[in-house]
């Protein structure tokens, strides 16, 4: 995979902010976690290089997360504001400059990030944590302070749902590489009768 001017973690956070502008630290970190969880299941690998622990507010890799945010701020990709969020100091972030053209996020990774941002980005931090994040398998299996067993949630069988395969199928459809199902099934029957 070719390199990019931005680290992969920074690219992911910037992409999520495109879909969920105004997200604060807690929400953005949880969106990245959910995207990684889905990617493990539906692509067979995570999207970020974050290594989550069960932190005070749920899954978090503070070192890599803040490092990626600093990278984005320094590069002019986001602006971090200060705001009163329900009596607490919050840091809603807004996207500025677009991701560079050399971003190495794949189409399938972008699909997952977009879906996660659209589906969960409008929840409050509390709802996102309590109704979604804390219900996921790695959070249920870990104890506070422990590393989350993300690999336990990964795909175990290559024949399970694979978003890359779905996208490949869609491209085949657009290119006309399509046949009547009946003829394909008849071929399979003939092959299996041998």
């Amino acid at each position: 995979m070719p390199g990019s001017a931005l680290t992969r973690n920074a690219q992911v956070l910037r992409y999520l902010l495109e879909v969920a502008p105004g997200a604060g630290h807690t929400i953005l970190a949880k969106l990245a976690y959910l995207a990684d969880l889905l990617a493990r299941q539906h692509l067979g690998h995570p999207i970020t290089g974050l290594d989550y622990i069960y932190d005070k507010h749920g899954p978090f890799d503070s070192g890599r997360f803040y490092s990626a945010l600093s990278e984005l701020e320094r590069g002019g990709y986001i602006v971090r504001e200060r705001a009163d969020v329900g009596g607490f100091l919050g840091y809603p972030m807004q996207p500025l400059q677009r991701l560079p053209a050399d971003s190495n996020l794949t189409d399938a990774e972008r699909e997952i990030l977009s879906w996660v941002g659209r589906t969960y980005g409008s929840l409050t931090a509390r709802d996102l944590c309590e109704r979604v994040v804390y219900q996921t398998t790695p959070m249920k299996r870990a104890k506070p302070g422990q590393r989350l067993p993300m690999e336990d949630a990964g795909r175990t069988d290559p024949l399970e749902f694979d978003l890359e395969r779905v996208l490949a199928g869609e491209r085949a459809g657009e290119e006309g590489r399509v046949r009547p199902l009946t003829s394909v099934l008849n071929e399979l029957r003939a092959r299996h009768h041998k």
Partner: protein, 100 residues
């Protein structure tokens, strides 16, 4: 009226892989069971649709003898609403994470 069922070359390979993942004795019965399940989909595609990243999918249970498998297909309906194109075939994965 049923949609005409088509399948992409990629999805056909995956369907073949699914069937061949089972013991050879069951291949013909399973192929017939898949055919029957997909004909049901073609007759009435949307009410039972599940969605993956905005894409409709149809998940069904295959029974052949003592074998039970949960498989699914993703699909698209042609713009003129005459064809249903299967874009992938897969084993149903466990649900993650909660969908609100």
């Amino acid at each position: 009226m049923s949609y005409a069922l088509d399948i992409t070359s990629e999805a056909a390979e995956r369907l073949n892989d699914l069937i061949e993942s089972l013991p050879a004795d069951w291949h013909t019965d399973v192929t017939d069971a898949v055919d029957a399940a997909l004909q049901k989909l073609a007759a009435n595609p949307l009410p039972k649709a599940k969605y993956y990243y905005g894409r409709p999918a149809y998940e069904f249970t295959i029974r052949a003898g003592r074998l039970t498998r949960h498989w699914g297909v993703t699909y698209r309906i042609s713009p003129d609403e005459t064809h249903l194109v299967i874009t992938d075939a897969y084993k149903v994965p466990p649900p993650v994470p909660p969908i609100l």
